[in-house]
């Protein structure tokens, strides 16, 4: 079935993006298990290199900067398909898109000219907001940026930075006016290799293990003033807008994982014989599968609609939070039910569902926890009912 046969949000070319991303996903899937077991940064580099060559790193970068000039719906379909083959790769790609989106959203022409062609071609991006003492409360970051002879000197520590060890371009948020709270934060582009930019330890994680997550230290890093994204002290808005887009992408990753978990559950239930018949003949199993599909359909609807609205340049703060909250929580339940249907074998490394069970868990934490999504939703709740 074609997307367009049951969702009004797509155009013909989106079918091509979906089918292409599916091809890519099949390729990534071949090494997904190895990448997970080894927590392999090497494989991730190779995966991102392939994605770069095919044009996925610059999928939403305008053609004038060497990108593909496509839209949020294309991003969503790509992340969805890719997460089916290798959730860690989709997660790293999502981290890259956060960096790209920050520049797209806030950067002036010169900055876009300087960095977008590279990010669209072969440079991997990272988005560095979180600090040890500033997670959900991102405005409480303490990394400092002080102006000195045409440079900003950055000092501080970031952690949990996706792609830290493999990124070429970092979007870093730091306080330029600490007394002004969220209104005193500025976004900078920092290039790998800049003296003082140090990559720290790589986290050993439960899931998305091939996607490197690192500490990033800024030890008096001199960043040229031209690398400020947008205006000084207006970086927090850029972060929030980029994260809004990112949330739609996270919802898309949730859909990809959910769909795979459901397919695996159906295949397994059709083949597993107990009590003299396939377990799929049991109504209890059928009902689980039906609930899974219902949740998946709702996730798709919310996510595709949010992407479509974003492409219409609407403010999607609310829709993105709703989509992320629902789709990622649903994915957790769907994966859990799929594991239940797999029984004991599902708990072993031999089954893909075991990896999905670990991979899915990050989705309700990163880019704003489910609780933070609810805060965002609540802030917009009255407007939503107008």
């Amino acid at each position: 079935m074609k997307l367009r046969d049951y969702y009004p949000y797509f155009e013909d070319f989106h079918e091509d993006i979906k089918s292409l991303a599916k091809n890519v996903s099949q390729e990534l899937e071949k090494r997904a298990r190895e990448a997970d077991e080894k927590g392999s940064e090497e494989i991730m580099r190779e995966n991102l290199k392939m994605l770069a060559e095919l044009g996925f790193l610059g999928i939403n970068v305008p053609e004038q900067y060497g990108g593909q000039g496509l839209d949020e719906r294309s991003v969503v379909l790509s992340l969805e398909e890719i997460s089916r083959g290798c959730a860690a790769t989709a997660f790293s790609l999502g981290g890259h898109y956060l960096a790209v989106d920050s520049i797209l959203i806030g950067g002036d022409e010169a900055l876009k000219q300087k960095f977008l062609p590279r990010l669209a071609k072969d440079s991997v991006g990272a988005f560095a907001l979180t600090e040890p003492n500033a997670g959900s409360d991102a405005a409480s970051i303490v990394t400092r940026a002080e102006k000195k002879n045409g440079y900003y000197v950055l000092r501080g520590e970031k952690h949990f930075i996706t792609n830290g060890s493999i990124a070429d371009v970092f979007v870093v948020f730091a306080k330029t006016s600490p007394e002004k709270g969220a209104r005193g934060i500025t976004a900078f582009v920092v290039e790998r290799g800049t003296p003082g930019l140090l990559i720290g330890k790589k986290e050993e994680k439960l899931g998305v293990r091939a996607s490197p997550t690192n500490q990033v230290f800024l030890d008096n890093v001199e960043v040229p003033a031209e690398n400020v994204i947008g205006k000084v002290d207006e970086g927090f808005k850029i972060a929030m807008q980029a994260l809004t887009r990112g949330r739609i992408g996270m919802a898309a990753q949730a859909i990809g994982i959910s769909r795979l978990a459901l397919q695996l559950a159906i295949n397994y239930a059709e083949n597993r014989m107990q009590f003299g018949q396939p377990i799929i003949n049991q109504q209890a199993i059928q009902f689980m599968l039906s609930d899974m599909l219902t949740m998946l359909r709702a996730s798709e609807e919310l996510t595709y609609k949010a992407a479509w609205l974003a492409d219409r340049k609407a403010d999607v703060t609310l829709e993105a939070a709703v989509a992320k909250l629902f789709a990622t929580e649903a994915a957790k339940l769907i994966v859990d039910k799929s594991m239940q249907i797999h029984g004991g074998i599902g708990y072993t490394r031999d089954q893909v569902i075991e990896r999905l069970y670990r991979d899915v868990r990050i989705l309700t934490i990163a880019e704003g926890t489910s609780e933070i999504q609810r805060l965002v939703i609540f802030r917009n709740i009255k407007k939503a009912l107008d």
Binding site: F13, I17, Q68
Partner: protein
Amino acid sequence: MQKNQVAAGCDYVNFRIVVLMKPTPDPDKVRFDAEKGTIIREGVELIINPYDLPAIELAVQVKEKLGGEVIVISMAPPQGEEALRDAIARGADRAILLTDRRFAGADTLATSYALASAIRKLGNVNLVIGGEKSIDGDTAQVPGEVAEMLGLPHVSYVSRLIDIDYSRAIVESDLESEVVTYEAPLPCVLQVTLNVAKPRIPTIKGKLQARKAIVEKWSADALADIADINRFGIKGSPTMVYRVVIPKEKERKRIILDTEQGVKAVVDLLMKEGLL
């Protein structure tokens, strides 16, 4: 069939490579009719037969070396067009879909006849590449039959193209028990295995451009001047399908050997399969 009707020999200006590509049901999406024992084909999306992906890739690599053009030909119902677009995204220059009710119901003989006729109609073809087999029909007969009908030399199970120029191809044919090296004069037909080339994935640009590409549609009438249209489709198909059965899974033999003997037998087997 006269050879020179097919190809004018070495054409340095435009080296023409034809790939035979069968649009087949997407195995992710096919459903079986368990009672009839057949694939439910209605409304199922058709994708490039996975065995034909390396054929397309090899053709594109040859084109990159020798110049010329890659023409992909399929005989399929109208929804085969999407698979042909995908072939264009993967580097083909032209795509021809033989589609007409009169082609329907073809067995391998009638399929091959239609494909051979299309190649003859094109003329000046230097190389024809087909896949090892289709994932649905699975007879592996078509490329060989096409070669015979065109009077061209034919190598099957080609697992490696060692060298090619405008006059000949040197290939390895993997016959499981042995690997044979052949030199075939061009034009010829190569039936290739999955190992012959690693298919590239199209780029986003390539994929989107292919949407705008034109897939040429040829009807039976388009071939009427060089073919006997009574040999197309069901009319031209002497094969009668008597019955289709889904094989039952075989009981395991449960052969028990003593440990030492058993381990050795397993190791030998794995070595033979190249897994150790």
